[in-house]
């Protein structure tokens, strides 16, 4: 089994001066490619016994009382580059509250904390690769980068597929947010079609009448390839 090589032009490069934090934190030498070993190809597995009942319900998982904000379902499938579903993937999310404030001592934004919103959730994908969360739509917020930079509404996603070499952290954005093209972090990605793949469309098929709207966000992990020709005897 091998992992498909990562196509780096669909990702942000390390050094992106428009996002100032990257300047001193980006490697300047070339990445080294070599033969992956079973360590990069394997990875931990997480069972459903890890999960609490409300782990994927950010509306109530902090105190049991509902958080303030626009109720939304965020759902989708985790696939690999071959288009195959990835079952058993650990999906962890974190986000600001509806006012754009994180529950973190380093966030001093004016918007208040919501006493009933913690800001994290997790789930494990089903056999068809599907996952879903119930949450509130996060607010946009200002951040220290340029003189007046704002993050669009977003949810952070951490993905753990079967291989440690597939590890991925990304961010989901919301259809129609005018801050998307202005965001220096989004603009670290040069390819406009790659940016579009981070924007979740409104999904009225999953919205629940008189309850919540829904957004659909599919995620693709690096492909894992195994063919009979890769298992042939040495020298054949």
């Amino acid at each position: 089994m091998t992992l498909l090589p990562r196509k780096r032009d669909g990702h942000p490069p390390a050094h992106t001066p428009g996002y100032k934090s990257s300047v001193a934190r980006s490697p300047s030498r070339a990445l080294i490619s070599g033969p992956a070993s079973p360590t990069e190809l394997s990875g931990p597995t997480f069972g459903h016994e890890l999960l609490g009942k409300l782990d994927n319900n950010l509306v109530v998982n902090f105190t049991g009382q509902p958080a303030i904000g626009e109720r939304i379902i965020v759902h989708g499938r985790v696939l690999d580059e071959m288009g195959r579903p990835v079952p058993g993937a650990l999906v962890e999310v974190w986000q600001a509250n509806a006012g754009g404030r994180y529950r973190h001592k380093k966030d001093g934004y004016l918007a208040p904390l919501d006493p009933n919103f913690g800001g994290c959730g997790r789930t494990i994908t089903a056999d068809d690769g599907s996952y879903e969360f119930l949450t509130v739509r996060p607010g946009a917020y200002p951040w220290p980068n340029g003189p007046n930079d704002w993050r669009p509404m977003h949810i952070h996603f951490s993905l753990f597929g079967p291989s440690f070499g597939q590890r991925l952290i990304t961010q989901m954005y919301f259809e129609g947010d005018p801050l998307i093209p202005r965001c220096p972090i989004i603009r670290t990605i040069a390819d406009p079609s790659a940016i579009e793949r981070l924007v979740a469309p409104l999904d009225m098929n999953r919205a629940m009448p008189m309850d919540c709207l829904a957004y659909k966000f599919d995620i693709v992990l690096r492909g894992r390839r195994q063919t009979m020709f890769e298992n042939q005897m040495e020298g054949m």
Binding site: R6, K7, R8, G10, H11, P12, A14, T16, Y19, S21, S22, V23, A24, R25, S26, P27, S28, R29, L31, I32, S33, G34, S37, P38, T39, S42, G43, P44, T45, F46, G47, G52, D55, F62, T63, D80, E81, G83, W94, Y102, R103, K106, G118, G119, C120, H156, S158, F164, G165, L168, I169, T170, Q171, I185, I186, T188, A194, R197, L221, R222
Partner: protein, 188 residues
């Protein structure tokens, strides 16, 4: 015209940002009550066989400043060179919010195939646009036939992948993101 190659492109990476702890180690930043405990605090149970080691490290930026908001994940086989079961061998370490140090208490991994024993690392933080992959080998081990290390053009950079022995069962491993002594990062 030809048939389309209808593979899917990998979802683009975005930085983990300054609040990665909220999602990955919420209890570490005082968000209690959602998960009973943070994921993968220890890679192995106390009774796991093998030599117990402690690795202390930090991640340092191009100005020489230690990162205090970095998250380091490690994945390794047990002392017998086998993986698992379950999540055994996986550890998630937020660096200290005060000192930037992280501490990995684990068992020394066994060799896998022709590779010298090593632990795989994945590093994310604010300012890191795509998670950085690297490896940690161990001072004192025979590294002379490791398939990755032997093919490196710049052999003088190998020490950046080797944890220094500081005592009986203790090692030090500092990761330099940029500049002099820059750690080798991998794309594999």
């Amino acid at each position: 015209m030809v048939q389309p190659l209808d593979y899917l492109p990998e979802t683009p990476s975005q930085t983990a940002g300054p609040y990665v702890h909220i999602g990955c180690t919420p209890n570490f930043v005082g968000i209690h009550g959602i998960y009973a405990e943070d994921l993968a605090l220890k890679p192995f149970p106390a009774e796991a066989p093998g030599e117990r080691i402690t690795v202390t490290g930090s991640v340092i930026d191009g100005t020489g400043t230690v990162l205090r908001d970095v998250l380091v994940e490690t994945w390794q086989p047990g002392a017998d060179g086998r993986f698992g079961p379950g999540a055994q061998g996986f550890c998630r370490m937020p660096s200290s919010l005060e000192t930037g140090e992280w501490v990995l208490e684990t068992v020394k991994p066994g060799a896998v195939g022709p590779n010298a024993p090593y632990i795989a690392l994945w590093i994310v933080a604010r300012g890191i646009n795509i998670g950085l992959q690297t490896r940690m080998y161990f001072e004192g081990d025979d590294l002379s036939s490791d398939p990755l290390l032997t093919r490196l053009e710049h052999q003088n950079r190998i020490p950046t992948l080797v944890a220094k022995k500081t005592g009986d069962g203790t090692y030090r491993f500092d990761i330099r993101l940029q500049g002099e002594g820059e750690t080798i990062f991998l794309d594999m």
